[in-house]
């Protein structure tokens, strides 16, 4: 399995179900060999986009390309895709081996080559010797790996995965995440992975596209999205965040100043795109950027301390009703109920547009389209 798969391109792809716009016109380029995760809450359009890539759903507008091939009109069986379903969709009346060999038999492969390839795929997912078992004899994690082997054995141009870890318990999920990452490194196949779980996205992805209300909100590497979220939605969806909401009072190319609602205080930080003075905005400070500054800084009451082993999680409350999370390496315990000071380095602060208090994206887009 040396080929790395093909790139996948979506050009102006959208999908409506009656009056419901499940996916707004979307452009997306997945590079050959890349592991791209579509991350978003349910109803954000991520599964719609995946099903359009697979051919299970026809787009209302736009084209889908695999490599240089326009596959928009092709049925799934002519697309050479590997799909892993949330329910695994293994055939219960076939053995493990026959499940894995299914796609090879559909391609009319001869017995010898078929056996060699299917065995190699089972070995890849560490299920050597399980070929003769019935599906119902396998655990959930093993079934998941059979589904993966069945999708990979046909050497697909793209591997598509629809919340494949949703049915596993937490501990197993973490194990399988690492397994999928190992497999991706080994086979190097273009992968589009759908999940609503940010941890899965962070562990496995080369790039993450965060989706919301039928559109890609922001796309980039995990670190980029975590450090430079474009708006409040992305900041809240990926990682834990402290958001102090207010009104933008000053803006100069790089930096911005925010007047916080309910507190007599301005906060400076790096400016995200799309800010304008006088509009709602929010200051993002990640929990690890909050410093304890006894005597100086912003007055905060320590509500709760949680010991997490190497880390201590502190929950603080500011005047004006703001809750602030702080994470620091565990040293001395701090007494709950005490009032202390907190501050932060302005270089760790992002000032983001807070459009959640305005109209939703989908409504804006609908309006825009009507004008066109």
């Amino acid at each position: 399995m040396s080929a790395r798969g093909q790139s996948v391109g979506f050009a102006g792809v959208s999908r409506s179900f009656g009056a419901v716009r499940a996916l707004l016109p979307t452009d997306l380029e997945v590079r050959a060999g890349e592991f791209l995760t579509l991350l978003g809450p349910s109803g954000s359009g991520k599964t719609t986009l995946l099903n359009i890539a697979a051919g299970y759903l026809a787009p209302s507008t736009g084209r889908v390309l695999v490599g240089a091939r326009d596959v928009t009109e092709l049925p799934p069986r002519r697309r050479n895709i590997g799909m892993v379903f949330q329910s695994y969709a293994l055939f219960p009346h076939l053995s493990v081996f026959e499940n894995v060999a299914y796609g090879l038999r559909a391609r009319g492969m001869g017995t010898g080559e078929l056996r060699r390839r299917a065995d190699a795929a089972l070995e890849l997912v560490r299920l050597e010797g399980y070929g003769g078992r019935a599906i119902r004899e396998l655990s959930g994690g093993q079934q998941q790996r059979v589904a993966l082997a069945r999708a990979l054995v046909i050497e697909p141009d793209v591997l598509l995965m629809d919340e494949p870890l949703g049915a596993l318990d937490r501990q197993l999920r973490q194990h399988v995440q690492l397994e999928i990452r190992r497999l991706h490194r080994a086979h190097g196949r273009t992968t589009i992975y759908v999940t609503h779980d940010q941890e899965e996205a962070l562990v496995m992805s080369d790039r993450i596209a965060i989706m919301r209300e039928g559109a890609i909100e922001q796309m980039g590497a995990a670190e980029e999205l975590y450090r430079w979220p474009g708006n409040v939605f992305v900041a809240e969806f990926l990682g834990e965040s402290n958001l102090l909401r207010g009104t933008l009072v000053a803006l100069n190319g790089v930096g911005a100043r925010l007047k916080v609602d309910g507190i007599d205080r301005v906060i400076d930080g790096f400016a995200a795109a799309g800010l304008s003075v006088g509009r709602p905005a929010a200051a993002l400070i990640r929990p690890e950027s909050v410093r304890l500054a006894p005597g100086t800084g912003l007055k905060a009451r320590l509500v709760e301390t949680v010991y997490l082993g190497e880390l201590l999680a502190l929950r603080l409350s500011l005047e004006g009703g703001y809750g602030v999370l702080c994470r620091r390496f565990a040293r001395d315990g701090l007494p709950e109920g005490e009032t202390i000071g907190i501050d932060w380095d302005p270089r760790d602060v992002r000032i983001l547009p807070d459009e959640a208090r305005g109209a939703s994206r989908r409504e804006q887009s609908n309006t825009a389209e009507r004008e066109v």
């Binding site: 051919g55 049925p75 895709i81 969709a89 009346h93 796609g103 559909a106 004899e137």
Partner: protein, 268 residues
């Protein structure tokens, strides 16, 4: 449930056995009657004998009707299985009111009084020249048999996860291959059950057969009906016993197949 006294259990089981006996024993009365040596049907038999079985299998007319019954049942079941499966698959893809209307139409022959269907088929069959032929009778039986296939296949279709179909398509299988490797294995228990009910129904059907069959396509039940009216002979009990035996064998086969399918599907 709290443990009941022995007396209570005896009473319940006793009453249940009585009811079952009342329902079933008259049917099995034909078995000793067929083994009676005398010329009159008498219970219990005065002396045991298999002479009426010999008479049955020596009589070309009994054998011909038995053969015709097998022929008609085979054709009716094959046609019902093919069209009933197609109908069940189609219904599963149809939604809302249309599905309710179509289901009602397909099941109507089970509900409409058989005598009405029989008279109607008599006229239509005469018009098309299909009365008195094995093929024509088999087509009439399809009306009664197909609902069993549609119902049974419909039930087993509910076990079919739509994502299996999508997975098979994604793996490169053509529609025909998807049907042969995914759909058919899943609905096989239902198809088998529908076929068994279909054979039993066709074998047992008298009213339609009398109207449509005429003399050329006389089935075993029709012959029995004639015999009851003309000459009352213990050979009738032999034919009845054979019918009961066939029904039991088919039904046991069906239960075994269903149990196997359930075991295969368990723990999915």
């Amino acid at each position: 449930m709290p443990a009941r006294g022995l007396g209570f259990r005896l009473a319940v089981h006793g009453a249940g056995s009585l009811v079952l006996g009342f329902l079933l024993l008259p049917i099995f009365a034909v078995v000793p009657a067929s083994l009676n040596q005398g010329s009159f049907i008498r219970l219990p038999p005065e002396a045991w004998s298999t002479r009426w079985y010999a008479r049955f299998f020596a009589d070309p007319e009994w054998l011909t009707t038995l053969l015709t019954s097998f022929e008609v049942a085979a054709i009716a079941t094959a046609v019902s299985a093919a069209f009933g499966t197609a109908a069940a698959l189609g219904l599963a893809r149809t939604g809302g009111r249309l599905r309710a209307i179509l289901t009602g139409l397909i099941l109507a022959p089970m509900i409409v009084p058989v005598i009405v269907t029989a008279v109607a088929l008599y006229y239509v069959g005469r018009y098309w020249g299909m009365t008195g032929t094995v093929a024509g009778l088999a087509m009439a039986h399809v009306l009664m048999c197909m609902p069993f296939v549609v119902l049974n296949v419909g039930v087993s279709l509910r076990a079919l996860d739509p994502s299996w179909i999508r997975a098979a398509e994604g793996l490169g299988a053509s529609p025909a291959r998807v049907f042969a490797t995914v759909t058919l294995p899943t609905i096989l228990p239902g198809l088998f059950g529908g076929a068994v009910f279909s054979i039993i129904t066709s074998f047992d059907e008298v009213v339609l057969s009398i109207f449509v069959a005429g003399v050329q396509a006389k089935t075993l039940p029709v012959k029995m009906w004639e015999v009851v009216r003309l000459e009352f002979t213990p050979v009738l009990s032999v034919a009845s016993t054979l019918l009961v035996a066939l029904t039991i064998v088919l039904f046991v086969l069906f239960r075994l197949a269903a149990a196997r399918a359930q075991a295969a599907g368990a723990g999915r």
